[in-house]
């Protein structure tokens, strides 16, 4: 199993992985009445997420938007297994999640804290492979394959993360999350701390990864344009405590293009709708 995954990972840049997920196998993620409270001291509770239900299909790209402080990140943390929910359940491939599953990757917003500064870029990316006992030779191949996949030269592997620019560091973090071939990729506002041009480039990196590897992506953002540009469906959360306000289908054709897709009337109509939902209108 591990070996098969590793060899598929090594071929990441060039080949389509064998059809391991087709439509009609049921949703990857099923979220039923999910709720999350936080203790805020003196026995008081604050409800961060009221009640959220939705499905995420295999190979789907789902974005979550909502007003700031709506609990978007909390939802992602519950879905990825980082935080146990207070109410309701999260089914991953039909099974309730108890911890971060083996075939799930997470990319955080703060790449400089999430990368390990004492390891080279290559060692950072190879770490999840090392713990899965992937042979060294496979590790090496996978590292350069995923680096290429995220648009970095394989030579970057010899550097330390902190020697790279912010955008490149986030590419490394994405490469590391891809290294062990996750079927499901969680991204928590991954591009919130890079500049606009880098952001556009990284959006296209993620888009291409999704299109080419047919990986399922669950993407939290506060940027409505970004959500509409990337997603198959946009889940709009209400103000905290969060409920699902609406789910907007985005039927824009793929591959999408920063200039053409974002310039079209359909895109504008969709972003207007999502904006209204976020702002609290109808």
């Amino acid at each position: 199993m591990v070996l098969r995954r590793a060899s598929a990972a090594a071929g990441v840049a060039s080949t389509e992985p064998e059809g391991r997920r087709g439509p009609g196998e049921g949703p990857v993620l099923s979220v039923r009445d999910l709720g999350k409270d936080y203790l805020i001291g003196r026995g008081e509770r604050r409800v961060a997420v009221q009640e959220v239900s939705f499905d995420v299909g295999r190979g789907e790209f789902v974005c979550v938007v909502g007003p700031s402080g709506a609990g978007k990140t909390t939802v992602l943390r519950c879905l990825s297994g980082l935080t146990p929910p207070s109410r309701g359940e999260v089914l991953l491939d039909g099974v309730p999640i108890a911890r971060v599953a083996d075939h799930v990757g997470v990319v955080f917003q703060d790449y400089s804290r999430s990368l390990f500064p004492w390891m080279s870029v290559a060692a950072n990316i190879a770490l999840p492979l090392r713990v899965r006992k992937v042979p060294r030779e496979h590790q090496r191949k996978t590292v350069s394959a995923v680096l290429t996949q995220v648009g970095l030269d394989p030579d970057v592997g010899g550097r330390y993360p902190w020697q790279l620019s912010g955008g490149m560091q986030q590419r490394v973090a994405i490469a590391r999350a891809l290294a062990f071939e996750p079927e499901l990729l969680f991204m928590d506002e991954p591009f919130a701390s890079v500049d606009a041009q880098t952001r556009a480039e990284l959006e296209d990196v993620v888009q291409e990864i999704h299109d080419r590897l047919s990986v399922t992506v669950f993407f939290v953002t506060h940027d409505i344009d970004e959500a509409v540009y990337l997603a198959d469906r946009v889940i709009v959360l209400s103000r905290s405590p969060a409920v699902v306000r609406d789910i907007v289908n985005v039927p824009l054709p793929r591959p999408r293009n920063q200039l053409e897709t974002k310039g079209g009337p359909e895109f504008n109509e969709l972003r207007r709708r999502v904006f209204q939902l976020v702002a609290g209108g109808t």
Binding site: V100, V106, W118, R132, G158, Q163, L164, E201, V205
Partner: protein, 284 residues
């Protein structure tokens, strides 16, 4: 602007990293200047000592040149073997034991909650005891041999490393631990690959502190109960009115301490290259 990813050129590692590199000649000059800035006062003090004691006839403040002559005579042969070697052995073993137990103890605290809760009061109780106070009981328990000296050195030097290891491991960035979870690292693997390296700068600070304490206890243990060692040499010289010998012992001790500290700093810089590199870049 290449927006289509498939045609986008791959990014090389060229742009940001070379911030730390300057013209070599100017850097050499800067480093030389910094070295000079750290050395002149020290040199001045030595020169003053030399000049002020040059014609001294006081038995308490012999001329520096007499001390240095005697130092060369005594320490390069007889005393080095008789007093310096055993001292250094005790120091090395005691410091190593303290370092290993300190780091392993920190790891135990991080990993095993029962151990953490049970040991915390004990650790803080023993930590506040000044180690020299325990010397009489150590002598009673272990005699006055090498074992007692190594034991008291290890005991006293343990606390700075242990407490820094505990604190450093406890304050590892939670996002790093979460990242480890998302990558599928087991708790033991997380300890080894994430927590220890992340805490290593603070552990190094603790070890450095432990080294100072170890040197201190090395000397103190030799002054209380010993027939050899540098501490014994200094005390014995003072009690038999050999003030020149006493001063040579003090100078040797200072030089040895400085060399050990220097070695420590060099090793630390090499091992924690990533830490100092990252910090220098952040401050640039």
């Amino acid at each position: 602007m290449a927006l289509d990813v498939s045609s986008q050129p791959t990014l090389r590692s060229a742009p940001p990293p070379e911030t730390g590199r300057r013209a070599p000649a100017r850097m050499l000059l800067r480093q030389g200047g910094r070295l000079l800035g750290g050395v002149w006062l020290f040199a001045l003090m030595v020169a003053l000592w030399w000049l002020l004691t040059e014609h001294s006839t006081s038995p308490y403040f012999p001329p520096l040149h007499t001390i240095l002559n005697e130092l060369a005579k005594v320490w390069f042969f007889r005393a080095a073997q008789q007093d310096l070697v055993p001292s250094m052995e005790h120091l090395a073993i005691g410091f190593a034991v303290a370092g290993v137990i300190g780091i392993a103890g920190g790891a135990l605290f991080w990993r095993v909650r029962v151990a953490r809760e049970a040991l915390t009061p004990l650790v803080y109780f023993l930590y506040v005891l000044p180690a020299p106070v325990l010397l009489p009981s150590f002598i009673l328990l272990f005699g006055i041999g090498s074992f007692m000296k190594v034991a008291i050195i290890a005991f006293a030097a343990l606390w700075p490393t242990l407490l820094n290891a505990i604190d450093g491991m406890r304050s590892v960035d939670p996002l790093k631990l979460e990242t480890a979870r998302t990558l599928g690292l087991s708790p033991n693997r997380t300890l080894w690959s994430i927590v220890l390296p992340a805490a290593s700068p603070q552990i190094a600070a603790g070890l450095r502190n432990s080294l100072q304490v170890a040197i201190l206890l090395m000397v103190v243990s030799e002054m209380v109960a010993s027939t050899a060692g540098i501490g014994y040499f200094i005390l014995n010289a003072q009690q038999s009115f050999e003030s020149v010998d006493m001063w040579t012992g003090i100078i040797v001790l200072g030089v040895v301490g400085s060399i050990l500290n220097l070695i420590f700093v060099i090793v630390e810089r090499l091992v924690l290259r990533w830490y100092y590199g990252e910090r220098a870049l952040q401050q640039a």
